[in-house]
Amino acid sequence: MRLPIIGYVLSDVIVSWIITLIIGGFLLWWLTAKRKWPLILDYIGTTDNRKIGTMYILFAILFFIRGGMDAMFIRTQLAVPDNDFWVFQADKYNEVFTTHGTVMIFFVAMPLLIGLMNIAVPLQLGANDLAFPYLNAISFWLFVSGAFIFNMAFFFNAAPNAGWTAYAPLSNDTFTSGPNNNYYIFGLQISGLGTIFTAINMIVTIARLRAPGMKLSRMPLFPWATLVTSSLILVAFPVLTVALLLLMFDRFYGTSFFGGEFGSPVYWQHLFWIFGHPEVYILVLPAFGIFSDIISTFSRKRIYGYTSMVISITLIGLLGFMVWAHHMFTVGLGALANSVFAITTMLIAVPTGIKVFNWLFTMRKGVVRMTTPMLFALGFIPTFVIGGVTGVMLAVAAADYQYHDSYFVVAHFHYTMIGGTILGAFAGIYYWYPKMTGKMLNEKLGKWHFWLFIIGFHLTFLPQHFAGLNGMPRRVFTYTWEDGVFLFNFVSTIGAYLMGISMLFVLWNLFKTHRSGTSSVDGDPWDGRTLEWTTDSPAPEHPFPNVPVVDRLDAYWYAKVNQTNLPQTKDVRPDPISIRTFQPILLAGVLMVMSIGFIYHWMWLQILGGGSVLAFFLIRSWTDERNEAYRKGEKS
């Protein structure tokens, strides 16, 4: 069918346009009818960490729906051999798994975690905001901008199609011409910039805004994980930025770094994985931090082996940079390189194992309360251990010659990424929901969500190990009866639907919690241990008028146990300045315009967009909120 401007498209695009327009129209009507616009404007113009964190999570859920639908299409197409489900074969299928992977990693997992960091980290530190509230808003809107650019592609019938790893030379314009993979480049480039800024913000916040007395050795583990993750981002993301820049030159300006006559396809793989492997630790370490806090809270015990927990995350972070070539065992780097990278990879299992045992021993002799967040944390332990042990199996370089790029790998990384990151994000959302909104999510529905999700999960991904061992490569849109992987795939598809259904319970839960005017909870509904539970729920914009003074780990808990109050002080450093501003969202829009100029090679739009972006530096410089604040300071 032909669409105006876009040209010839298949029916999935048309259906998506129609559905999007209907839902969009309905949303507009609903927002207007319910007079929600002032609220929306308030959020758009905010620099408050809690509101920004909430928006991160909302958008992540939106994209989770997108990526989840992609997953359902993938699983439906693969349900039976020689299948022809709707349009999802060949190029369409390739577009679907590329979007699925990219969206899940960059626009679901990352923002879920960054959202939770925004909400919880300052509160856990006793800080009133992040160090740079304005920059935080910029980060968020850059993420939105990048995510929209990437997700737009599909609607213009140009979804990226070279896999989330975009291996050259397939990703070069010789083999995938057209705008498709340009969307990939610009989507990641712009959201990546936002991520880098967030990392800077987190590090400065953790380094300089901790409550009096909170030495690093008294800091909860979620901020610790955030600190390590942010440092990884600081080193890993710039490499991706440069890799994408070079790929862009290859595609746009005729260089041939990664393909063509002189290029080196393996060089792309090196750059990509020097970023990519740390990236998977960037995704999982914050989840470790969340689980640590949750397991300790709901065992009513301090975390077991705090010091070794901190050392472990740091070690994992460091080792994370020395293992990238385990993704490249089959490219023929030679036995020496493969052996070295096999061993460094195996080494990571040691600090990870330490963490698992410390979690287990935190529960020992404790009082383990089965709340929804705790259920997710408990579900995480066996699931992640399976993902971890298959990880060690993959590290066996020679054996990886068989596993590599097969469904075994697909199973492995979903065990780690869903078992770690996604379960962690769910746990964190249930746990900190009172801090975000002042309400508790319904526990019963939460438990339904957990059980359906975890059962569906194992049904989906456990069989995939065997499909891989029976010779099913990843990224294939079909297989035959003779391949002998039908049963594995069929079970996997059923599991996937179960996971899909479990997500309906989340929506129902959200709906129920907010519709019925569920009464608000007090500041400390879980009987928590860390400073966020000393503030009101939801956390106000200025949560700590007086800052608590901390003299040990979990100081709030011990104060409660001893039936005293935490001492407080007013004598602290000045707070970061929060403001209301619409510059960030405008910048996001302008960047999007510029990106489209590049994606479609429209020079005039590039210049227009690029010029406007530069203008934003000037606007920012001249509307600096410090002007006002320092002026007051000078007078007093």
Binding site: A131, V239, E634
Partner: protein, 190 residues
């Protein structure tokens, strides 16, 4: 309570240093790219492209601009408007001359047929040195902005803050240039 501008300045300085780490890693990756692909098997060899005269000239101008910026820094310390002006203006002029030479260099190479698609040595060269040049160009714009802000009524603490952040940037860009000279040009000049 501590002086607000002091504390917030320290926050910002730390944040900006972290940002410079990010930049440093980007440049490091580009240096690696350059080293890997240079000299290329086919197409131009660096020794036939580079000229020591251009390198020397550009280096003199850019490096001395870091020196002249010290005058402005001194002016910031004792709050001497004169020194700040002298420092900023000379730095700007030197930087602008560098920019001119750089553009001329690129133009000349392209004219001689050494375009970025000729081989990967040239590709890596243009991306790396071009990224540096765009940093210089951005810095020039930044300086103009600073100069205008200097003429306006702005809290002194804020101007000092903005100026200092710029100084870190400019010195950083200079250090990158030193690395470019030693890694990109020098091995192929003599």
């Amino acid at each position: 309570m501590k002086q607000m501008s002091d504390v917030l300045f320290l926050d910002k300085r730390f944040g900006f240093f972290l940002y410079l780490v990010v930049e440093a890693i980007m440049f490091a990756t580009l240096f690696a790219t350059y080293i890997i692909f240079t000299p290329a098997e086919r197409g131009a060899h660096p020794s036939e492209v580079f000229e020591w005269k251009t390198v020397a000239l550009t280096s003199i101008f850019l490096l001395s601009s870091s020196g002249t910026l010290l005058m402005a820094e001194k002016g910031l310390k004792n709050w001497s408007r004169k020194w700040i002006w002298v420092g900023l203006v000379t730095t700007f002029l030197l930087g602008a001359i560098f920019m001119g030479l750089e553009i001329h260099e690129f133009y000349k190479y392209a004219h001689e047929g050494y375009t970025l698609s000729m081989n990967n040595f040239l590709g890596a060269f243009y991306v790396l040195v071009g990224l540096h040049a765009s940093h210089v160009a951005f810095g020039l714009g930044w300086m103009i902005n600073l100069m205008i802000q200097f003429t306006k009524d702005m809290p002194r603490a804020l101007f000092i803050e903005k100026h200092k952040i710029f100084n870190y940037y400019w010195h950083f860009v200079d250090v990158v240039w030193v690395l470019i000279v030693t890694i990109v040009y020098l091995p192929y000049l003599f």
